[in-house]
C-alpha cells in the first residue's frame, strides 16, 4: 500500500511540474504581445517613467491614431494607412492568381500525368527551397524591363511566380488522394479536362483551398525581402513601412506609436490565425519547408 501512495504522490508532483512548465511557456509567448498592447496605449511620459509591464494609468488611443493616420514614414506624414492598403492591394490578386494556377497545376500533375510531368514536379519542388537572394538581381532587371519596377503589380507578379511552387505542391499532394477511378469513370463517360475538374475535383477541394489561401495570404502579407527590394516610397507594403518607422534615427523615438503600428501590421494575419487556426496549422505542417 505505501508503495502505491508514494507512486501517486510522485505522479501528482509530475502533473504539477508539467502544468507549471506549460503555463510558464504560455506566459513567455504572451508577454511580448501583452507588452506591445499596453505600450501602445501609454503616453510617452508614462513610458519614460514606468516599466515595461506597468499598466497604463491614463490609457490613450492617440498612438494608434498617429500610427494609422499621421506618423512620419519616409517622406510622408500620413501614417501607415496607405501602406496597409498597398499590402491589401498586393495580397488579394497575388493570392488569387497563385492559388488558382496552383490548383490547375496540381490537378494536371496528379490526374493527367504525362511524360516529363514528374520531372517538372521535382524541378518545381526544388524551387520551394531556393534562397530568394539568388533571384533578386535578375528580378529587379526584369521588372524594370517590363515597366513594373516599384509598382504594386510588380510585387503581385513576383509573389505569384514564387508562390506557384508551393501552391502546386499543396494541390498536387491533396489531389493524389482523390481516387483515380472517379476521374477515369468520368473520362469514359466522355467528360473532358475542365469538366472533370469542375464536377469532380472542385467540390472536394474546399479544405485545400482554405489551407492554400491562408498560407499564401500569411506568406505574402508578412513578406519583407521582396517588398524592400522591389518597391520604394508610396508603393511599399506595410512590413517595409513598419521597418522604416521603427528604424528612423530622427528625433525622439515614440515607442507607443511603433507598437501600435506593429499591431496594426500584424492584425490581418493574427485575425486569420484565430479564425481559421486549424487550416493554418495544417498548411504549416504541409508547407513547412518554406520557412
Amino acid at each position: 500500500m505505501p508503495d502505491a501512495i508514494r507512486r501517486s504522490r510522485s505522479e501528482t508532483a509530475g502533473r504539477i511540474l508539467i502544468y507549471g512548465t506549460l503555463v510558464l511557456f504560455a506566459v513567455y509567448f504572451l508577454v511580448p504581445l501583452f507588452v506591445m498592447v499596453i505600450t501602445s496605449v501609454k503616453n510617452m511620459d508614462e513610458i519614460r517613467t514606468g516599466t515595461l509591464i506597468a499598466l497604463p494609468q491614463q490609457p490613450t488611443l492617440e498612438p494608434w491614431l498617429k500610427a494609422w493616420g499621421y506618423a512620419t514614414i519616409g517622406v510622408t506624414n500620413e501614417g501607415i494607412r496607405g501602406f496597409f492598403w498597398n499590402s491589401i492591394r498586393m495580397v488579394i490578386p497575388a493570392v488569387l492568381f497563385s492559388t488558382l494556377i496552383g490548383a490547375v497545376n496540381g490537378y494536371v500533375l496528379s490526374k493527367w500525368r504525362f511524360r516529363g510531368s514528374d520531372t517538372f514536379f521535382a524541378m518545381l519542388l526544388l524551387g520551394c527551397f531556393i534562397p530568394f537572394q539568388v533571384v533578386l538581381l535578375p528580378m529587379a532587371r526584369t521588372l524594370g524591363f517590363l515597366g513594373l519596377s516599384e509598382s504594386i503589380w510588380g510585387l503581385v507578379l513576383v509573389h505569384t511566380v514564387y508562390g506557384l511552387a508551393f501552391t502546386t505542391l499543396f494541390f498536387r499532394n491533396y489531389y493524389v488522394a482523390v481516387p483515380s477511378e472517379l476521374v477515369n469513370a468520368a473520362r469514359i463517360d466522355g467528360a473532358g479536362f475542365f469538366r472533370i475538374f469542375w464536377k469532380i475535383m472542385l467540390p472536394v477541394s474546399t479544405p485545400i483551398f482554405m489551407v492554400t489561401i491562408i498560407w499564401q495570404t500569411t506568406q505574402i502579407w508578412n513578406d519583407f525581402l521582396f517588398g524592400v527590394c522591389f518597391s520604394t516610397g508610396e508603393t511599399q507594403p506595410v512590413t517595409v513601412a513598419l521597418n522604416n518607422l521603427v528604424n528612423t534615427s530622427s528625433s525622439v523615438k515614440e515607442y507607443n506609436v511603433d507598437m501600435a503600428a506593429a499591431i496594426i501590421a500584424a492584425l490581418p494575419t493574427l485575425f486569420v490565425y484565430f479564425v481559421a487556426g486549424k487550416y493554418f496549422v495544417r498548411g504549416l505542417t504541409a508547407g513547412a519547408v518554406k520557412g
Binding site: 506549460l22 497545376n105 524541378m123 539568388v134 479536362f193 501590421a265 505542417t285
Partner: protein
C-alpha cells in the same frame, strides 16, 4: 493517358494536349524565373558589375575577393552561432512542450493556440516587439533594476559581441511553437500499443520516452533540422529590424550582407557572389533531404 484513338479529330487532339497546354505557362515561368535567374545571378557574380550589371567576364575573382572580406566572415560566423543556437533551442523546447502537451492536458487546445500564434506574425513585427523589450534604456534592463537589482545590465542589443544573441532570442520565440507542432504530430502518430507493452514490462514513463518514443521520432528530428537550417540561412527581416546588422556589422548574416552589397553599396557582382554562396549552402542541405524523402516515398 487521355489519348482517344477512336475519334482522331482536331478537337480530340486538342483535348489530349490540354493538360500540357495548361501547365506550360507555369513550366515556362519556372524555367525563366527560377532556373534562368539562378544562372543569370551566377553570371553576374563572374563579372565586375558595380551599380549596373556589366557583362565582362572575370571568372571566380569575386568569390576569391568575397572570402577575403572580413564582413563576410563575420556574417558566416554569425550564421553558425545563430543557426546552431536557434536550431538547438527550438528543437529542445519544441520537443519538451510537445511531450508535455501530449500528457492528456485539459487545456491543450488553448495552450497550443498560444504557442503557435507568433508564427502568424511577420518577422518585422517580432523584431519590433523584441527591439522594444531588449532596449537597454527602457526595456527588460530597466524593469529588473526597478524591481531592486540596481546593477543589472542587459545591453546585448547595443553590444557588438552580443547583438547576434538578441536575434537568437527573438527567432526562438517565433519558431518554437512550430517545432512543437511537428513533434506533437509525430507523437500522435506513435502506436499506443508499444507504450502499453513497455509499461506492462514495468518500464517507467521517463525510460519509455528516452528509450522508445524519442528515438522513434527520428524522422521528425530530421525534418525539423532541415526546416530550421533553411529558416536560419534565409533569415533577413528579423536582423534588419532588430539590429540593422549592427552595431557596425557585428550581427550581419549572409542575407543582410547580400542586401547591403547588392542594393545599398552598389557592388552587384559581390552581392551576386554572396547570393550564390547562400544558394550553395541551402542546396547542400536540401538536395540530400529531398533525395531521401523521395526515396522513402518510393519505398513506402
Amino acid at each position: 493517358m487521355p489519348t482517344d484513338a477512336r475519334q482522331p479529330g482536331l478537337a480530340s487532339l486538342l483535348e489530349a494536349a490540354l493538360p500540357k497546354v495548361v501547365v506550360a505557362p507555369s513550366f515556362a515561368a519556372m524555367l525563366v524565373f527560377i532556373y534562368g535567374f539562378i544562372l543569370w545571378t551566377l553570371y553576374i557574380s563572374m563579372t565586375k558589375s558595380t551599380f549596373l550589371p556589366t557583362y565582362d567576364f572575370v571568372g571566380l575573382a569575386q568569390y576569391i575577393k568575397l572570402w577575403r572580406i572580413e564582413r563576410w566572415w563575420v556574417a558566416c560566423r554569425n550564421l553558425l552561432v545563430y543557426g546552431g543556437l536557434f536550431i538547438f533551442f527550438c528543437t529542445v523546447l519544441g520537443l519538451m512542450l510537445a511531450i508535455f502537451l501530449d500528457q492528456k492536458i485539459r487545456i491543450e487546445g488553448a495552450l497550443r493556440t498560444i504557442y503557435l500564434y507568433p508564427l502568424a506574425l511577420s518577422f518585422v513585427v517580432t523584431g519590433t516587439a523584441w527591439k522594444w523589450l531588449l532596449n537597454p534604456g527602457l526595456g527588460i534592463e530597466r524593469l529588473v533594476r526597478e524591481m531592486g537589482w540596481s546593477s543589472f545590465t542587459f545591453d546585448w542589443l547595443v553590444t557588438s559581441e552580443m547583438s547576434i544573441y538578441c536575434v537568437v532570442i527573438a527567432a526562438v520565440w517565433q519558431s518554437t511553437g512550430f517545432v512543437m507542432a511537428m513533434f506533437l504530430a509525430g507523437l500522435r502518430g506513435i502506436d499506443d500499443a508499444i507504450i502499453k507493452a513497455a509499461q506492462v514490462d514495468g518500464a517507467g514513463l521517463t525510460r519509455i520516452y528516452w528509450k522508445i518514443i524519442i528515438p522513434s521520432l527520428r524522422p521528425v528530428f530530421f525534418s525539423a533540422f532541415i526546416i530550421l537550417t533553411h529558416i536560419a540561412i534565409k533569415s533577413f527581416d528579423l536582423v534588419v529590424v532588430l539590429t540593422r546588422g549592427g552595431p557596425g556589422y557585428s550581427s550581419d548574416l549572409p542575407a543582410t550582407f547580400m542586401y547591403a552589397y547588392a542594393f545599398t553599396r552598389g557592388r552587384l557582382a559581390m552581392g551576386a557572389a554572396s547570393a550564390m554562396m547562400m544558394f550553395a549552402m541551402v542546396m547542400a542541405i536540401i538536395v540530400p533531404y529531398l533525395y531521401s524523402e523521395l526515396r522513402r516515398k518510393r519505398d513506402a
